[in-house]
Symmetry: none
Subunit: 222 residues, 2 copies
DNA sequence: AGGTTTCTTAAGAATTTCTTAAGTTTCGGA
DNA sequence: TCCGAAACTTAAGAAATTCTTAAGAAACCT
């Protein structure tokens, strides 16, 4: 498990790095956000421990960046005891866990084990529904073997549908998955993307439930 | 989201129940493990808040039971500040999060939102009456496995009936569940919707009690 | 910068769902 | 048994939602 530690206090940083390494984690540690960003961007870690009190910027912005990525990357936040607001903001921004300083090392290790379990359990590289196959790693969709070229939003929409086969998702739910929080969508973009997707997929692959939402069904023999 | 609160302190229990309800959770609260177990066993909740200092046994045993199930059920543990060992044991046993008492209510709510995000999309809670099964997460109704397409109002009506099996509800009560406050209903809309529902459900699934209201009965072998 | 692809917005058409209302049937008490 | 109230049935118009199309904006790639 590759672990990124972002912590500006040199003493704490060094100590944690040693502890975590001896626990079997491959630790990359940085003292500031600037150093951390490329590691996240290049997909070089599986889990992030992020201190919020950093010298060169707000740690929450890195968190936001991470949560905007396609691939999930669990983040555990470290905060000072009195920064409750930050904690709540952090959790709502998508942090998977946090710890208040000062903390017990054993507790940190326990929480990391929890996050680690969550990471390793979710690795499936393809999604399928009938003849439609989505290869997440390759970012490709094929239908009866024929390759399909999907623009980003259509890809994301199809992915959301494939990840929830048999479950109806409202337009609002789908919007949340295609757009960053805070982006206002003033129109019928989802409907339009659904329309475009349908023209490329087998007929009836995507069903509409009026007033409720859209579904792809598991055992549909397109 | 149906939430089970297991907390033996009556004051805390009552306070949390009220807060959580007003946040939109459907809260079942129990004061001891004995009451909690059947709710878990019967799959009646989506998320558990578990206090570890209970009178009738070790809360960790319930946690172990839960984690032995096939279907995932997130658990948030509450502990006293000095019980660090318990916390670590709890996390390693599979608890998804914990909180140290005393805690800020806002913090609990933030953590619940995190767990809720994780759950939604994985959990499917259902209501059932004979061969009629309603999957709340998927927003789908099946009858002997066959999928039924219900318009919104019919779905809402059926849901209200299924949530109150064995309990007669007047037309006025049902109206309140289908319509916003202030919407005036000048006519027999409920009767019409009942009629349409009946055409799609097994005969006698919905009973009329003249002058009183409508019911679906639990042990009806449609 | 120019051209291409993708995204968003908008507006009218098509469709489904909802409500209303009127006539018919059923139920229970006189 | 007869009567009145309640519930059922049906159909049609109203309302709401989704589909389709197209055009301009934005992002992307030489």
């Amino acid at each position: 498990m590759r672990l990124l530690l972002v912590e500006d206090d040199q003493v704490v940083n060094a100590g944690l790095t040693r502890t975590l390494s001896s626990e079997g984690y491959a630790v990359e540690s940085t003292l500031c956000l600037a150093d951390a960003r490329p590691l996240v961007a290049n997909d070089e870690v599986d889990l992030v421990i992020l201190d919020l009190g950093l010298p060169d910027g707000d740690g929450l912005s890195l968190l936001a960046d991470i949560k905007r990525r396609k691939k999930p990357l669990p983040v555990l936040i470290l905060t000072a005891r009195d920064a409750l607001d930050d904690k709540i903001k952090g959790l709502d921004l998508g942090a998977d866990d946090y710890l208040v300083k000062p903390f017990e090392v054993d507790e940190l290790l326990a929480r990391l084990r929890v996050l680690g379990r969550r990471v390793s359990g979710v690795t499936s590289s393809t999604l399928q529904c009938g003849s439609v196959v989505m290869d997440l790693a390759a970012h490709l969709v094929t239908i009866d073997g024929a390759q399909l070229n999907l623009p980003r939003k259509e890809y994301m929409l199809l992915k959301a549908l494939l990840e929830n086969q048999g479950r109806v998702q409202s337009k609002e739910q789908l919007e949340q998955k295609l757009y960053q929080w805070g982006e206002e969508l003033g129109s019928n973009a989802i409907e339009v993307h659904i329309h475009h997707l349908r023209k490329k997929l087998p007929s009836n692959a995507i069903k509409t439930l009026r007033g409720i939402g859209y579904v792809m069904n598991k055992h549909e023999g397109h």
